[in-house]
Subunit: 129 residues, 2 copies
DNA sequence: CATCTAATTTGACATCCATCTATTGATGGA
DNA sequence: TCCATCAATAGATGGATGTCAAATTAGATG
């Protein structure tokens, strides 16, 4: 799961500066978009939620399949997508596989939506172009 | 743009509790996923970034088209998607249309990725099932 | 009213993606 | 070694989505 060559992280240096910060380059935008794409599915969101809120910090896949209206392979697929986005990481222990969230990743995303103190509404110059 | 019946907000009560919080219901997950879907495109991300970082707090569409490798109708389409997700709002003034970010929306997203103090790693009960 | 420009909508098309069934890989017990 | 179970992969398919060109709407101006 955390095997280096098995699944490269497509979003290595994505995300950091807030969305209201300096202009996003094409590359950063693409990487960031990848993370959000991973979060853009209801099932994946619920999977992430279950894993993140599970006591012990990790969840067995066997606890996830059957809890959704989709088949086990589909759950597996979604876990893979979350993993490729760097949001979770998995580890096999005997028969079962356990997933946990990548804390730093979630923490970083949080900062993305920070906004500056004020949008200076007095500066509303209509046709200032 | 902010015309009530023109474009209903599909994510009215989406998002609030952190992803690590109480279990996400199907409906909340679907609504939240919608917001992330809106953020899952590089062009949309750059548009949002430009609007959010523009001085005066708003940006004329005329400043956005031509700044991308996509056509004007496509930019318009993406702005509509961001609008439907409740991330931006637009207003026509004379010939031009101006967009601004919905601050509270971005602020709320920030809280989503908050994590509890510690995942209690000692509680790693392998096959507690 | 005619016309020009800004922005959006429409319709078409190619690609991507979530889902399933069937199969394969991995682990552990009889 | 054989089999049962958990998890992931492979391949197929229907629906969603990003894109564009062309048409349309909305204001401003002559």
């Amino acid at each position: 799961m955390s095997n280096p060559q098995e699944l490269e992280d497509v979003t290595a240096q994505a995300c950091c500066a807030p969305l209201s910060g300096p202009v996003l380059g094409e590359r950063e935008a693409a990487e960031l978009a990848g993370v959000f794409k991973a979060l853009s599915d209801p099932v994946r969101l619920r999977l992430l939620n279950l894993i993140a809120s599970h006591e012990g910090g990790e969840t067995c896949v066997c606890e996830l399949t059957g809890r959704f209206e989709v088949s086990a392979p589909t759950v597996s697929h979604h876990l893979k997508v979350l993993r490729r986005a760097g949001l979770i990481d998995g580890e096999r222990r005997g028969t079962w596989v356990y997933y946990r969230v990548v804390r730093e990743r979630l923490t970083r995303l949080s900062g993305l939506f920070a906004l500056p103190a004020s949008p200076r509404p007095e500066a509303r110059s209509p046709s200032s172009r």
